[in-house]
Amino acid sequence: MGDDSAEARDKNWRTLMRAAQDGDGAAYSRLLCEILPLLRRMVARKWRGAQDVDDIVQDILLSVHAVRHTYDPTRAFMPWLMTIAARRIADAARRSSARSANEATVETMPETFDADETKSEQDRSDDHGAIEHAMSGLPQGQRQAVEFLKLKGLSLEEASAATGKSVTSLKVTMHRALKAMRKALEEKR
């Protein structure tokens, strides 16, 4: 892309962003759609082989949204966007390395995997049935906590946002739910 067209593009985005800051949803939507392929390319380039490119792109878009008042329309748009994108990509890299510290990568699965299987299909479906039964005995609030925190894998903060309950109360509810389920499972056995 030549300098002229890059400049024209930036000028266009500057205008759209200024309108977005003034509350023009259509201009904002157009701007975000136009920068989307660029962000995807940037994330994919810095983040080789990642399946969660769009997760990071969404983080960048949410961050852009949260700090859109910090853009100064008298300045170029790209450096503003690129600074935010670079920060968010670096944050994602940090999160990912923290996560992978707790995981082991297995390159080749053991060939005897099948032979070592300790549970038959029947056992598995029995287990599911027992857990479902234990869950069905829970009061509604506790069941919701199990569903959000264990089945959906939400964090306490996310579950708190979704249910409107405090983090502390969710922790207590979760603790009680697990205790009740454990008891139900033991009784069944």
């Binding site: 977005a20 800051q21 003034d22 509350g23 023009d24 949803g25 259509a26 904002y28 939507s29 975000l32 759609c33 989307l36 769009d54 792109v57 969404q58 983080d59 878009l61 949410l62 961050s63 949204h65 949260a66 700090v67 859109r68 008042h69 910090t70 853009y71 100064d72 329309p73 300045r75 170029a76 790209m78 450096p79 503003w80 966007l81 690129m82 600074t83 935010i84 920060r87 968010r88 944050d91 509604q140 069941r143 919701q144 569903e147 959000f148 959906k152 939400l154 903060e157 996310e158 946002a161 979704a162 249910t163």
Partner: protein, 229 residues
């Protein structure tokens, strides 16, 4: 959630926002309120009796001016760091006055050494410095920490460090006007030391104070989860 859906949601939530003022204006706003407060504290504590004589001394003037300028430049740098896409050199703006401040204190130590030998460089405990600087920089500090939260958290640790440096350097400059302690080494250890500790403390809380929004479980997703119950 698909990214295209997210864009639609964000666009529908695009309320008009108040643009962040130019860093220059923000410094002016911060400085006017902070200076009024520092002046009030200095008046309440009572200016040092030899202030008139001191203000004729080049080293005293340079030292206080350098501390004050360090505060102003650090505030400007903190505000610039919260506006993404601004040039990187702006973040180093407090370095020249900071070097001048340290240099004037170092030169003072040297002069004390030439004048009195080892006796000129004694360190006594001065427990007034830390609480005094803290007191003078309380309002400037609270104000600037509130103000930088309006900016973008692109460099949280550096931004809060610069903000606390701004407030504490201003506090140190103010302290010189009512606390009659002139031995350069004492100032270096107790006053500059306090500024350094407060700045490090500010850096420590950077990530706590300034962070990007957590990805929310947005509207429709939360509804979908809730209705499945």
């Amino acid at each position: 959630m698909r990214t295209e859906d997210l864009i639609r949601t964000l666009a529908s939530e695009a309320k008009p926002v108040q643009r962040l003022a130019h860093p220059g204006w923000r410094v002016a706003y911060w400085l006017s309120i902070s200076l009024a407060y520092v002046a009030m504290v200095v008046l309440i504590m009572g200016t040092r009796s030899d202030l008139a004589a001191k203000s004729g001394e080049a080293r005293f003037v340079i030292e206080v001016a350098a501390a004050f300028l360090t505060g102003v430049m650090a505030a400007a740098a903190a505000f610039c760091a919260g506006s993404p896409g601004r040039p990187l050199w702006e973040r180093f703006a407090p370095l020249p006055p900071l070097a001048l401040w340290l240099g004037s204190l170092g030169e003072g130590c040297w002069q004390d050494w030439l004048r009195a030998g080892p006796d000129g460089l004694t360190i006594q405990p001065d427990f007034m410095c830390f609480p005094s600087i803290l007191m003078v920089s309380l309002v400037p500090g609270a104000l600037i920490l509130m103000m930088i939260r309006r900016g973008a958290p692109t460099t949280p640790v550096l931004t809060t460090a610069l903000a606390t440096l701004a407030a504490s350097a201003l506090g140190a400059a103010g302290l010189r006007l009512f606390h009659a302690s002139d031995a350069s080494l004492m100032i270096l250890v107790w006053q500059f030391g306090t500024v350094a500790i407060l700045t490090a403390f500010g850096a420590l809380f950077g990530r706590k104070l300034l962070h990007w929004p957590e990805r929310p479980v947005v509207g429709s997703e939360a509804d979908a989860l809730a209705t499945r119950m």
